[in-house]
Symmetry: C2
Subunit: 385 residues, 2 copies
């Protein structure tokens, strides 16, 4: 008998929250970072390795899985957990964001989105009802409403139209979700761009509809960090304390510290995995670009204090060599390094909230990034995003 | 204090031999398959994963490491074992074969080979003395003489010239190797193409010079399997029983069965790793091409009877999906599957020799490959090479 979806708030420190989500596939400790497994795999990681980094939950992308291998096929094969051999929690997005950014010839109207696959041009229709159906076929523990995400900056009437459309779709997703098996959760998504009034309107209307959790979408889409934080500060206090809050597509380690301080609980981002594949390591001492020639003779490991094997069992010289030689192992090791660091950062935040020293923890963590481990490493932080 | 290099012959079954090589980095059970770690990494495998497949020893390529990152650099970083985080045995080739196949503008004379790097055009000289120096800098447990390998078919005078040159280089390598630390081994390489007389001449002259082990080179370079086996049958009986025998660059699972039956002890080949990256799995039931559309809905694992996690924890449908979607995990999993299968095959041969049932084992193994697991899988074996 699968467990009900639930969220327990365990502690607060200022606006920062410590909690635990219960899903049919185990607990998710919050604040939680969700590695991105776009095509039913986190690139370069086996599920065992991913679990070892400390991940409780992964995100998979409905758009990609809808095109290939197809949700009906995954359902026939026993669902996404079995398909990707990940027995822990999974969140799927609704597909909307990727349709906007990847698909060709898309047309959006009240009914939904029609588009052509970026793979082979096949025409698809994604309605709120189909978005929920797909996510239920995949068997995700946490499903997301279909929404329209607008890239910033955007004219006010575009933001307003997207909010109105997303709210209408939220209602339809809620209805479609009534057929969901017990234990599954559906999150609404707050839109409104950089307009505080639209953000509040969006949040309040979603709460009237009622969801298991609330996401803040349409951020980290080109706006400065302070705009992102201002929007969160508008929205978070409105959202019900007893529901998890998910900031979509965020972010850098610094974004995570800042957003947790504002009361957000869940995050996903491709930065640790994508940057890892491009030789950028996230460490306690800030980012380190291993393509840099200064690492060629450096016998030191990335961070002997990390609990990640990839951080202490290999020299920087070797990691540098792997990237110069285009060897897969470079991407594999730095993906592990980065995901481990992200999880270590989340674990540190959770512990700090529990001990009521979150702001000290955040300050010390940032000071260590700024100081780096040696003169000159600071300039690299520009390459982080 | 590092152990002396030694070889113990533990059992014989016909010409097939069970043995154990002792190196400063642990024992190598023979018959042994050595995965290829060209650039100081077996593509797509961490050293831990590689060890789990059952590998006692890996091969690294002198040519590649000479160009990048450079043997002096690896030596300064503590040697190849530490560099690639592989504490077990390593064999390096001499670089000669890759110079012939990869480098540009090569010129070969009595002194050695001059060539330009295929990476950046830098000019290099590889003499027998430098080939040994590089391998000693890398810290390989087993080093190989520099030789000239001729692609078959070739005119007799080319074969003869290559044998004469390789024997002269063998002598110089032996002298250069006198400075090697205790425990290191040097192997001579029998050349002679498809000419039995040249092969015997080469083997006898190498034995007069005296080596820790004897390799048979210049095979698996385009000739049919029966030519390869005929050459081994000419050479193996001449070689001293108390020294290991290494068949270079071989081969398919069937080649390994056949060559062990002829008395060869060590093998290396890129087939399991390269084919794994191209979606071809080696299994007890023969090769399976996972790009084939018939796997798209197949919930069965590759081989539930394998002790390799990648063979039983993932469906064929998932592996098919990973390759269709160009996901790294596909190459990672099939590399593990194939290297595990190769090691399982070697372990099976070792057990069979010990129990004096090698020919039965070989027969049964081939029968299983031929039968496949279902009608229709047989046709795929053509894609193996």
């Amino acid at each position: 008998m699968p467990a009900e979806f639930s969220f327990r708030l365990l502690a607060r420190d200022g606006a920062a929250r410590l909690g635990e989500i219960e899903t049919p596939h185990g607990a998710v400790r919050t604040p939680a970072f969700m590695p991105v497994g776009t095509q039913a795999t986190v690139k370069g990681m086996s599920p065992d390795q991913l679990r070892e980094t400390g991940a409780d939950i992964v995100l998979a992308n409905t758009y990609h899985l809808m095109l290939r291998p197809g949700p009906e096929r995954i359902a026939a094969l026993g669902g996404l957990h079995r398909f990707m051999n990940w027995p822990h929690a999974i969140l799927t997005d609704s597909g909307g964001f990727q349709v906007m950014s990847l698909a060709n010839l898309r047309r959006i109207d009240d009914k939904g989105v029609t588009f052509r696959s970026h793979l082979d041009g096949t025409a698809y229709e994604l309605t709120p009802e189909r978005a929920i159906e797909i996510q239920l076929l995949l068997g995700a523990d946490v499903t997301m409403q279909l929404d329209e995400c607008v890239r910033l900056p955007a004219p006010h009437h575009d933001l307003e139209r997207a909010v109105r459309l997303s709210l209408a779709w939220a209602e339809r997703c809620k209805r479609a979700f009534e057929q969901a098996p017990v234990g599954r959760a559906l999150f609404g998504i707050v839109q409104g761009g950089d307009d505080p009034e639209l953000r509040r309107l969006s949040a309040r209307t979603l709460m009237e509809i009622g969801f298991h959790g609330y996401a803040v979408g349409g951020l980290a889409v080109g706006e400065p960090q302070d705009v992102m934080l201002r929007m969160i500060e508008e929205v978070a206090p409105i959202l019900p304390a007893e529901r998890p809050r998910y900031l979509m597509g965020v972010g850098t380690p610094d974004d995570l510290l800042a957003a947790v301080a504002c009361g957000m609980d869940m995050f996903d981002c491709v930065l640790p995995t994508r940057n890892g594949r491009h030789a950028l390591a996230f460490t306690r001492f800030g980012p380190i670009n291993l393509k840099n020639a200064r690492h060629a003779d450096d016998a030191r490991p990335l961070d002997p204090g990390s609990r990640c094997a990839a951080s202490h069992d290999y020299s920087r010289a070797y990691l540098h060599h792997l990237f110069k030689a285009n060897e897969m192992l470079g991407a594999m090791l730095l993906t592990a390094v980065n995901l481990s660091y992200y999880q270590e950062l989340m674990a540190g935040m959770r512990e700090a909230i529990r001990d009521s020293r979150f702001s000290t923890f955040a300050e010390e963590t940032r000071a260590r990034w700024r100081a780096g481990e040696e003169a000159g490493s600071l300039g690299e932080s520009d390459t982080m995003r």
